[in-house]
Amino acid sequence: MSTEIEEPGLYDYGQRAARLPDPVDRANADLDIPVDVRLDMYELQQSLRQFEKRAYDLFMENLVKGTSHLSLGMEAVATGFGRAMRPDDYTFATYRGHAHTIARGAPLGPVMAELLGRENGILKGKGGSMHLTSVEHGMMGSYAIIGAHLCIANGAGWSAQMRGTEQVAVAFFGDGTTNIGAFHEALNFAVIWDLPVVFVCENNLYMEYTPIDLVSAVPNPAADRAAAYGLDRIVVDGNDADAVYQAATSVFDRARRGEGPSLVEAITYRHGGHSRADPGKYRPAEEVEAWMGRDPIPMYHQRLLDLGVSEAELGAIQQSVAGRVDEATEFAKQGLVPSADQLFVDVWADGGASWRN
């Protein structure tokens, strides 16, 4: 009699089937999105891609310390939402916030300098990759502990509601966030107060190193829970900037009309690991390969060609972005390290750090 116990394995990564992408919806080419908006979205996706590739190279050169979480492969989400926003709307992002910061118009140089911990960084070298913020661009912060910022975005929406400005607050978060209490508190609260808040789950299929479907009660961790809050179930192709833009426009209109919050689940995939320390080996090779073939940027490039934009025009955009990323890199490298007195600056509104007389 065998004493071996056969366990099905709750977390049986090796046996887990690859989750392959759906094909591109060709009909998205026909969406009513002007070509100039599409060119703008192409340029932004190029910026995000080239900026983060450069950031990665700078990690490899050990010019960036600490950690960083790249959005390579996920650029269409930040792009579609970012371009559908009004300049005075509010963005709240996670530690994976480079793309969302740049999408709101924050200048590349100071963002890159922040990753390098320089005094000319957008946070003066005191926040780093996980806390990118640019209030003047409506980028209200990158929040590095899962969940809180959904509740904080509610507050910005509440403020806009009280001031009657029709601004919208958008909270971006990963699939893993859907399993923390703050997600559920935030959704319920936003619904009962009719807040102009859009919750965007960037479902890249992995909660850090763990497949999200192994740790969630439902297959679509955000969208399948929308009904619990009386919200529509919205799933969008997060690798198609046009589809994202269309969905964003629709939920923003609803929020501005005073009809309350929305929850959008954008399905996407990260090209790399969770963070700098993670090679992402837990993902099946065929899955990675299939998703690399669904890279949002070459797809969008081809769509623009199909729509009659010339290869030369797209090439010029790529070149122009490359020049700006080079300039940003140079700006960052030329930055000084923060001076020692910065240690005691900006704890309090008076600019200082004093806690006693």
Binding site: Y90, I145, I152, W158, D346, V347, G351
Partner: protein
């Protein structure tokens, strides 16, 4: 001048500030229709309306998140966390978000929020509704911390907290709600970071906070009968901390006693003792003595809870027996 209860002083202080600033709003569980479970917000809904005084679900993270998000986009907020023990369920937003956002963003973000919360023992509520947790907040850079002991201070420090552009945690003591005191008429605006010498003395300095202040004063009366002249300082504000008032007093009396309701380890008195030891050690005539709740969860039975907290008797006896 009017006699107000500590409880009514809370609503009076909030009302004073809401009349002054039409943007100021408040939210919390049961604060609007019910007037607060401790009746500290009675009348505010009627005067300021449902848009400015809002009931929330039992969602402490949602409450403080909403407060922070509104505050950082231009709307100052008073948020209530019903019992200070419940700060533990929204501590991420207090300790990691509100407290650190200004610093982390290079000064871009401002969070003018007052978190009001009912603190302390004496109601026989047991270990999860009776704690004194001001030291939780004191140890987080970026939070200001106040704990008034009387109605006039409640009004004045509420105004100071609301007008402060940084996050302030405002501890209201449950066992003081029914106490009464004179509150001056007209607008009252106090200052954070100022201790008050509530009784002058020459033989020792007793530093106390919130409920421990009246107890320290009663102990000082009895010490006087024994010929011991105790100076009593109401700290009022832990961050910023008025160290000069304490150091000046200790230099004069040569003896320091702290009276703390918090459990022993890392209570605010430990920091005060450390500062005094660092800076006026040679003025001391004897060791610093901390009178605290033991390092235990609080029990609910009356006799046990009373034994746990520093009592008038314990303060009196400790000072009498150690002053030498």
């Amino acid at each position: 001048m009017a006699q107000l209860s500590y409880r009514d002083a809370v609503s009076a202080g909030i009302a004073q500030e809401m009349r002054r600033d039409p943007n100021l709003v408040m939210l919390g569980e049961d604060i609007a229709g019910a007037g607060g479970v401790f009746k500290t917000t009675v009348g505010l809904l009627d005067e300021f309306g449902p848009k400015r005084v809002r009931d929330t679900p039992i969602s402490e993270q949602a409450i403080l998140g909403a407060a922070m998000g509104a505050a950082m986009t231009g709307i100052p907020v008073i948020a209530e966390i019903m019992f200070s023990d419940f700060l533990a369920v929204c501590w991420d937003i207090v300790a990691n978000e509100m407290a650190k956002s200004r610093y982390m963003t290079g000064g871009q973000v401002s969070v003018p929020v007052v978190i009001r919360t009912a603190n302390g023992a004496g109601s026989r509520f047991g270990a999860q509704h009776s704690q004194s947790v001001e030291n939780w907040c004191m140890m987080i850079p970026g939070l200001k911390v106040v704990a008034p002991s009387n109605p006039a201070d409640v009004v004045g420090l509420m105004a100071a907290a609301v007008r402060d552009p940084d996050p302030v945690v405002f501890f209201e003591h449950k066992s003081l709600f029914a106490t009464k005191g004179e509150v001056p008429s007209g607008e009252i605006v106090d200052e954070l970071g100022k201790a008050t010498i509530v009784r002058a003395g020459s033989d020792c300095t007793i530093v106390a906070l919130a409920l421990m202040v009246p107890r320290a004063l009663q102990a000082a009366e009895r010490l006087a009968e024994e010929g011991i002249s105790a100076e009593v300082i109401d700290v009022r504000s832990l961050v910023p901390l008025d160290t000069q008032a304490i150091l000046g007093s200790v230099s004069k009396t040569g003896r320091l006693y702290t009276v703390e309701e918090n459990p022993r380890l890392c209570g605010w008195g430990a920091e005060v003792a450390s500062i005094v030891a660092d800076e006026v050690f040679w003025d001391l005539d004897g060791p610093v003595v901390r009178i605290t709740t033991p390092h235990i969860p609080l029990p609910s039975a009356e006799v046990l809870e009373d034994l746990a907290l520093p009592s008038v008797d314990r303060i009196f006896e400790t000072v009498r027996d150690t002053i030498g």
